[in-house]
């Protein structure tokens, strides 16, 4: 009967990891116990069979797919290692701030002390001077005041005082009780930096109202809210064509949820064959879904259903953010590149359909859509070679005339 220790000895030997000092014990065991020898032989055979399994090479295109994924990462600036900076103690910034505060406070206190002393001196001077009955020109002999004070002068002086305190002259001076307005320094012109002396606004021009359109940017989970639905319907009525970015955690899963929601508004979604293949391989490249068969309210209903289905998904929501913007030049170029023709996305289809249903028939309006690989551009299918694209272009002629050209881009969140 083999013990656990015996079995461990045997498996270690099969692994080729037996310590030399234990090899003798193995030989003794194998010689003593036929069961041990049988087990050893069987385990060696099992190991040999595993090693002989055929090698499975990686599928073609794996390296390309990884390279594509890696190339889409945002480039980080190379970080050059720096010598560790000497770190100042944590209290240094506070000490610097406190020192500055002290200096500013002390300077303010000193300035105010000087001004107070000057005022006191001036007042003392005024008290000593007699008041003449008929005061002559009070300011005769004083230095002429500048009519236009230059901006580089200091603060407006509060008192006009003589520079020289000569007693004889002082005796003739009147008591300067106040500075007369006509002799006071002219106010500094506006724009010299003195906020207090700024020219008051006498007339404020009326504000012009500007209407800014902000693209719809909302969590997909909120697309069922009435205010967002109304906003989407309103926006879709204001421009010709739109791009809807749907940011998702898993592109293939999101595509399936989108397709399921699209069916609820009668949209028939075809998938280009090359794109199908990429979806089966669960490659995360962004997808483009194009349709111009849905009216604005149908688009809003599609998005509401999308939000509901996404929230109800057992695996958890896969959609994150929705972003709706009118076409720019880039989107028109993208469509021409994807389809090989100008779809006329700059103008909505006018007039009725050329394929009016025959009298008595109740033909359902055709609402086609197609899923293509959106990026990188190198992976886009050649539209001339895709029978799905050709079929879509053929069926497109039968779409309703109220449709909004809509390019839905399902993008992975990186």
């Amino acid at each position: 009967m083999l013990t656990n220790a015996d079995r461990e000895l045997i498996t270690a030997a099969v692994d080729g990891e037996l310590a030399p000092e234990r090899e003798a014990a193995l030989h003794v065991l194998l010689a003593r116990d036929p069961g041990a020898a049988t087990l050893f032989a069987c385990l060696k055979t099992d190991s040999r069979r595993l090693r002989a399994l055929p090698r499975r090479p990686a599928p073609l295109g794996l390296a390309d797919a990884v390279t594509v994924r890696v190339a889409r990462l945002p480039r980080a600036n190379p970080v050059t290692p720096r010598a560790p900076a000497l770190r100042a103690p944590n209290w240094v910034p506070y000490a610097v701030a406190a020192s500055l505060l002290f200096v500013v406070g002390a300077a303010s206190f000193w300035v105010s002390l000087r001004e107070t002393a000057d005022e006191a001196h001036g007042l003392a001077q005024q008290k000593r001077l007699p008041r003449p009955d008929n005061p002559p020109d009070q300011f005769a002999g004083l230095p002429a005041l500048p009519t236009e004070p230059s901006p580089e002068l200091g603060p407006t002086p509060r008192r006009v005082l003589p520079q020289h305190t000569d007693d004889s002259r002082l005796a003739t001076l009147p008591h300067p009780t106040a500075v007369r307005p006509e002799s006071a320094p002219q106010p500094r012109p506006a724009g010299t930096g003195d906020v207090v002396g700024a020219v008051p606004l006498t007339s404020i021009p009326p504000f012009e109202s500007v209407e800014a359109r902000v693209p719809v940017l909302a969590p997909v989970a909120d697309l069922g809210r009435k205010d967002i639905r109304d906003r989407i319907v309103s926006d879709l009525g204001r421009d010709q064509s739109f791009r809807l970015d749907l940011f998702v955690k898993d592109v293939p899963r999101a595509a399936a949820v989108f397709q399921s929601a699209a069916r609820t508004v009668g949209l028939t979604v075809a998938v280009d064959a090359a794109t199908q293949d990429r979806l089966r391989k669960k490659l995360p490249a962004p997808l483009a879904v194009y349709t111009d068969a849905l009216a604005p309210d149908e688009v809003a209903r599609l998005l509401t259903n999308l939000a509901k289905r996404d929230q109800a998904d057992k695996s958890g929501p896969v959609f994150t953010i929705a972003h709706l913007v009118p076409f720019q030049a880039a989107e028109h170029r993208d469509l021409r590149d994807l389809f090989g023709v100008d779809l006329g996305s700059g103008k909505r289809k006018a007039g009725g359909s050329n394929l009016a249903p025959a009298a008595g028939t109740k033909a359902k309006p055709v609402k086609p859509a197609i899923v293509l690989t959106y990026s990188p551009a190198a992976l886009r299918v050649n539209p001339a070679a895709s029978k799905e694209v050709r079929a879509f272009l053929d069926r497109r002629a039968e779409r309703p005339r109220t449709g909004v050209p809509l390019l839905v881009v399902i993008r992975p969140v990186l």
Partner: protein, 175 residues
């Protein structure tokens, strides 16, 4: 490498076959193995700065791959595949979880390989992983411990139990 995708592509080409071969034996689904290997290379690229060179690059890459495989097993969920119907419109079918009925996963296998892989699949994930690393990859205990991130003693006992369990599973076919 300075983050150049093209240079990393050469690295992928060098290691992809070996890594895929091991991963496909662990997850037994070429689609899942492809996901795991792609995700592993992608994660490795993002983590290149953290590779200190204190282990073989392949050992480090393996560690990432097997952690990814474990994560995949844990979050195993129903997935939906897009297939087109007769008229080119998309039909959604829930994916059949059994390996035998999944289109595209049928491998051309000999009976021997079929028996071995079936037995491997019946092992627990831990046992399957250590046996694949030991016998298919030819790693030593220390390397396997490095990849899986457990002590050598744990590796030794896991392989021991895995071999005995595999033996029990293969015994009826051998008789």
């Amino acid at each position: 490498m300075n983050g150049r995708p093209a240079a990393f592509g050469d690295l992928v080409l060098r290691y992809q076959d070996r890594l895929f071969n091991s991963v496909v034996r662990v997850v037994d689904n070429p689609d899942d193995a492809l996901d795991v290997v792609q995700d592993a290379f992608f994660s490795a690229f993002q983590s290149l700065a953290s590779f200190k060179g204190d282990a073989e690059f392949f050992t480090w890459l393996y560690r990432i791959a097997f952690n990814t495989a474990v994560s995949l097993r844990r979050r195993r969920r129903a997935t939906v595949s897009l297939e087109t119907g007769r008229d080119g419109e998309v039909v959604i079918d829930p994916q059949d979880p059994s390996a035998e009925t999944r289109p595209g996963t049928a491998l051309e296998r000999t009976e021997e390989e079929e028996a071995l892989q079936t037995a491997l699949n019946r092992l627990s994930g831990e046992h399957r992983t250590v046996l694949v690393l030991k016998d298919i990859e030819g790693m030593k205990y220390e390397e396997i411990a490095e990849v899986i991130g457990v002590p050598i003693g744990t590796i030794r006992s896991r392989i021991h139990r895995a071999r005995l369990e595999l033996r029990e599973l293969l015994e009826p076919d051998d008789e």
